[in-house]
Symmetry: C2
């Protein structure tokens, strides 16, 4: 993509209402624009990152045998009245049609997935069943000031699994947990598996995947020696400095964190509410055990920015970077190299603007693509190669560049 | 994909409230499920078709120099009050937050794209500018009984262009028209460019892309001799049997049709409303001319089914078929061929269910993938090849099959 053909505009200053790093940098670097608090437009660079994160999540969910569908955003009120969510969930957006019909906007999809799958589940032979979708969710948040970390409209992957008994659920939960850790590893993040309450979804303990960041809104206690981590907004049994209850070898430390994923053991709450039954091996009708597994795709994009930036701008991990290469052409150079890189299947952002070198280098640092290439009169037949994370530049031939990038 | 791993369930009978062919066949063949009138879940087969149509549209929009972004669904009421749409557009869904803030659900995106692009447009040098997105739209329809032809929630590509003057808009309109005709041609459809009124969007004449089908809701008059076509719901200047006003060589015929796309010359309505100006070559500030170009992605999927089916089921055009090949394995056969086809990058749906041959053949016809392959004890080393549109079967070797499919 050429910069002059696209909506990539960088800003010197962040908007005044941008209080968090992700909001400031994503706007300044031209990835998003805020339409109103908690609701964002994704510009071409932002859309590319969002699609890359979605694709990583999709691959890992397919890998654990889940099937992708697409469930609606506009739900009939009755589904939410059946489960009690209509009155209990304060973040549920409600819509009234001109003929006075009531609808809810998806804030999660238990209320649609359970009646949907009841058609496909009859006996234990149809279980376990795992289904997911990636779609926009809506929550009537009182405050939404953390950029794309807390959206009123946000992109989420939600997976639902159905099991004949608790044992089978527990097994699938372990499988899903591993898939989640693979997702976050591919995204360059360390996510701590954190005990929390089930919120409105479940009476049981749930697990959150928390990334330590000062922009986060969750208060956690974690152990540096083992994997123990607890959300103390929900579960107040420990304090900072207490001995770790798991390994007993270190003291718990407090941190702010952002929840990039979660897992709920929903038990039989929804299968009972919607009368979803399956005949087990003994011939008895039972209500299957259900699990819900979320990953906040847009929030994760924000968390990545909170974790990976310096005073010059964003530093995208390779797997989610909007482009492989940021090519800076000076003195009208670069067009040939741009074509040759594309022919070699390198995804390249070409800064073909007629601007001073310094400004173009600053923008490259702000946008944060992993590799910067420069061609100018000075570089002659060679190309200047620099990684975003390093100050070292090298003059290389085209073949050497391709070798480095592959 | 294996049928036993997926949510592909075929039904003998359509639901009673399915009044149109697309609704009946898409539910029976396992592509969609209705959540409520006008709102559908896309099952794996349906999601694949939706994504293929989106991708064709995306490629052709990129080809005419438009840039993809993603604009939100939840809009602040103020944007709709500025243009008057808040009070005038009866299909606009309105949402009130718990703190009594008013929002609208996207039914189109003029109200967000105009303030967005005002940041990018300053002078004639920034024009023309073309931007599009593919996202769900919401309309508070009084009736929604035509399957996915008229959704309360539906997927749409909407492109917006901005021009320094009318002449430049007229030129881009011709470019967009050609791109639209290429899209519909790739989808196997003949779309008639039809004169209509601008509706709430514009005072000017607009153009609709109409596909003749008895399931459509638009009344048109068309000429069989030339390309003349008019929507008589809006423009009542001619009657059936009148001489064609364009070629004057044939009589106008009446038909029902479905609008798969449209183009509006929005003039300066929105640029004036949002104060979007550009300095022209003479140094004068002007309000750019704006165009809006829609394609109903989910509706087009329904129209394809209305046009391409027989009494056995759907007949997908190759470019949008959910899979290249429907492989029927009999007597436990097929697993090896399934793997070999996948290795050869053939996208294959493998019916590995333990069911009678007749039932599997019926399902293959119902689902409507262009090519059916059968392996059984009878076919020995060979593979039975049959096209969905033909009754002829051939026994071919693997290499011959690959040659046919490429």
């Amino acid at each position: 993509m050429k910069l002059t053909d696209s909506f990539v505009t960088t800003l010197r200053d962040a908007p005044k209402d941008a209080l968090t790093i992700n909001h400031q940098l994503l706007v300044r670097a031209g990835f998003v624009r805020q339409l109103m608090a908690g609701v964002y437009t994704y510009l071409p660079l932002g859309l590319k990152v969002l699609n890359k994160i979605s694709q990583i999540v999709r691959e890992e969910m397919n890998e654990i045998g889940s099937t992708e569908v697409l469930m609606p955003i506009l739900h009939p009120a009755i589904n939410w009245k059946i489960t009690g969510g209509w009155d209990k969930i304060d973040v549920l957006f409600k819509v009234k049609s001109r003929t006075k019909r009531d609808y809810a906007l998806a804030q999660s999809n238990e209320e649609t997935v359970t009646p949907l799958t009841s058609e496909f589940i009859h006996t234990y032979k149809d279980l376990p069943l795992s289904i997911y979708h990636i779609n926009w969710k809506f929550r009537d948040e009182l405050r939404s000031k953390s950029g794309i970390l807390r959206g009123r409209e946000f992109l989420m992957k939600d997976l639902y699994s159905f099991h004949i008994d608790q044992e089978d659920f527990d097994k699938y939960y372990q499988t899903a947990k591993k898939a989640y850790l693979r997702v976050f590893e591919r995204l360059g993040l360390v996510a701590k598996v954190t005990e929390a309450s089930g919120g409105g979804f479940s009476e049981k303990v749930s697990y959150e995947f928390e990334v330590l960041t000062s922009a986060g809104e969750a208060n956690i206690l974690y152990c540096n020696n083992c994997e123990y981590c607890v959300n103390i907004d929900d579960i107040k049994k420990y304090n900072e400095g207490d001995n770790c209850p798991l390994c007993k070898k270190a003291k718990l430390k407090a941190s702010l964190a952002s929840e990039v994923g979660n897992v709920f053991d929903l038990g039989q709450k929804y299968t009972k509410a919607f009368g979803l039954t399956a005949v087990n091996e003994k011939g008895t009708k039972v209500y299957p055990i259900m699990g819900c597994y979320g990953i906040g795709i847009s929030r994760t994009m924000g968390v990545i920015v909170e974790k990976f930036h310096d005073d010059k701008g964003i530093i995208w991990p390779r797997e989610v970077a909007p482009f492989d290469v940021h090519l800076v052409g000076l003195n009208g150079k670069g067009e040939d190299l741009y074509k040759k890189l594309k022919e070699n299947h390198i995804d390249v952002l070409f800064d073909d603007r007629d601007l001073p070198a310094g400004q173009k280098f600053n923008d490259a640092d702000l946008i944060g693509i992993p590799v910067r290439l420069v061609v100018s009169e000075k570089t002659c037949e060679k190309i200047e190669f620099k990684e975003r994370t390093s100050d070292k530049t090298e003059l290389l031939s085209f073949d050497e560049i391709i070798k480095k990038l592959k």
